[in-house]
């Protein structure tokens, strides 16, 4: 979420109130990106700005550090958000060097606006899973139960790649044996919130507030896996999410930007992504599901 509304400034705030602000800001977790953003004001060293789908948070974080090691003095800043939001920001003129989307649709949208320096390349694939809180308040252990009355399901919004993939999966499940034809419709009627990116879906389920959610397999990271139970979606009903990456045309440092894209596509980059639960580029619809991330 980048569009945050803070209508908190009031005239003549006493000093102790300012102290609270300072305290809160101090204790509020500052992400890598924001941290680097503070240092961006110091005399400009090389800096690379990567707009990446929220599901790439962990893997690209690691690739960014790798990139920084290779190029001493370089800082890689990330803007992680729903791909639809990143595309909107790019189309509104946000400055970036690289864009990595979780689906074709938003990469195409950016491409149609003539914002890319080169043809996008697919660098990773992903599968969806259903997650439920470890406490499993709705006692869900089969996908068919998602259409039950009163289940609180959280999906990513329609515009978010993960949200669109989720709806595709529901459609495929409705058409498969063992599921009612109106399964998808009934599951969608259980949706209590349409989140702006896939990570928010994880959060709502992880906190036990939602009974179930649909996310990428790679979102079940080591940090959250103990709060979650995973229900696999059968291969034939699953989708194969494809992640394209491209350098932005207005990038002030094309060489470095291309370098990052190359790193992501390299054997080393691919192994980082696979370690984080992504499938390699060669994965086809019939390929086996990879082991769970660490």
């Amino acid at each position: 979420m980048t569009a945050m509304r803070n209508r908190t400034s009031m005239p003549s705030l006493a000093n102790h109130r300012l102290a609270i602000v300072a305290l809160l800001l101090g204790t509020f977790p500052v992400s890598d990106g924001a941290h680097h953003a503070f240092h961006a004001t110091t005399p400009s060293k090389d800096q690379l700005t990567v707009f990446a789908a929220a599901s790439l948070t962990e893997s690209f974080g690691e690739l960014g550090r790798l990139m920084e090691q290779r190029h001493p003095g370089l800082t890689v800043r990330f803007n992680f958000a729903g791909s639809q939001q990143l595309a909107a920001q790019l189309e509104q003129g946000a400055e970036a060097d690289v864009f990595a989307s979780a689906d074709d649709r938003w990469m195409k949208s950016v491409q149609e606006k003539q914002l890319l320096a080169a043809e996008p390349q697919i660098f990773a694939r992903n599968r969806l899973v259903v997650i439920v809180p470890a406490s499993n308040p709705a006692r869900i252990d089969r996908l068919a139960q998602l259409s039950g009355r009163g289940i609180k399901l959280v999906l990513a919004a329609d515009a978010v790649p993960a949200g669109r993939y989720s709806r595709e999966v529901l459609q495929k499940l409705s058409a498969s044996t063992g599921f009612e034809a109106d399964y998808g419709r009934r599951v969608l009627a259980n949706v209590v919130s349409q989140e702006e990116n896939v990570k928010s879906v994880v959060t709502k389920v992880q906190l036990g507030e939602a009974d179930a959610g649909m996310v990428y397999r790679s979102d079940v990271t080591p940090a959250v896996s103990r709060y979650l139970k995973v229900l696999d979606i059968p291969e034939e009903s699953n989708v194969l999410a494809s992640y394209p990456i491209a350098t932005i045309r207005n990038s002030a440092q094309r060489a470095l930007a291309d370098g990052f894209v190359d790193l992501v596509l390299s054997a080393e980059g691919q192994s980082v992504l696979e370690r984080h639960g992504f499938l390699g580029v060669e994965a086809k619809a019939g390929s086996p599901v990879p082991p769970k991330p660490r």
Binding site: M4, R5, R17, F28, A88, P137, A159, Q194, L207, E209
Partner: protein, 261 residues
């Protein structure tokens, strides 16, 4: 002079930019769309509920703060001020951890058959949380600005404390109360961060106007701008309506509010 012009530009230009971009016909056409109506209705309903709740709960507390000294008063004042300085998203996380199904008070709420997250009630609670300090501060300042001699005079006429409150204190502090309610209402109407975190985002149930604007901005900028102008128009109409209420000027209330702080 320069400072003034800069400020006018800073504050006025965004409004102008919004309005210029949307032809009135588009605005009217959008207003007829069910999803826009839904968000608008939800926004008006929730902000009306939360403002009513803020006044109901805030009035006695403000009176207490203005008229009594007690242990922990400073602490209470601080607690009431916190939402004003707290980033709304943080407020949302706090609300989720406190009043969520799995939150601290989740078990107690469940005994009453309540599960707040993802409900319209959660939207109202989030708005209540962020709007409270605006009303309480203003109301406290209003009560403090009532000159004691009026109260003393009422007492010498053997008016009961409740009668005095109703017929002396309340009318004299009315501008501050209304100003506080208006500011609280505006804050509730604009609430975004706490709502999307605590109540989620579902059209018709928890997707208020600010959330609708945010969501639209990601796929349809023109729709987002139209929604923004609509929200702007609604806010202005209600604020102006309050301002021209007979015998009351919000400005006076806001001035009292500032003096009191």
């Amino acid at each position: 002079m320069l400072a003034g012009s800069l400020l006018v530009l800073l504050l006025g230009l965004p409004l102008a930019a919004l309005v210029i971009r949307v032809p009135p016909a588009t605005l009217l056409a959008r207003l007829g769309q069910p999803e826009v109506l839904e968000a608008l209705r939800l926004s008006l309903f929730t902000s009306a509920c939360s403002t009513a709740a803020v006044v109901l709960l805030g009035l006695p507390v403000a009176h207490l703060l203005a008229t009594r000294e007690f242990r922990g008063k400073r602490l209470l004042e601080l607690l009431i001020d916190v939402p004003m300085v707290l980033p709304p998203t943080v407020a949302g996380v706090g609300l989720l951890l406190a009043f969520g199904r799995a939150g601290l008070a989740g078990g107690v709420l469940r005994m009453f058959g309540l599960s707040l997250p993802f409900t319209t009630l959660a939207v109202i609670v989030a708005q209540l949380y962020v709007a409270t300090p605006f009303f309480v501060s203003s109301a406290t300042a209003g009560f403090l600005s009532v000159e004691p001699r009026y109260l003393e005079s009422a007492a010498t006429h053997r008016a009961s404390p409740f009668y005095t409150f109703l017929h002396v204190t309340l009318p004299l502090s009315a501008p501050s109360l209304l100003a506080g309610a208006a500011m609280g209402w505006a804050r509730a109407l604009g609430e975004f961060g706490a709502t999307i975190t605590f109540a989620g985002n579902l059209p018709g149930r928890t997707q208020t106007m600010p959330l609708a604007v945010y969501v639209a901005l990601q796929s349809d900028v023109d729709a987002a701008v139209t929604l923004s102008v609509l929200l702007l128009a609604v806010s202005l109409v209600i604020l102006l309506g309050l301002r021209v209420l007979p015998g009351v000027t919000i400005t006076r209330g806001i001035l009292a509010f500032r003096r009191g702080r």
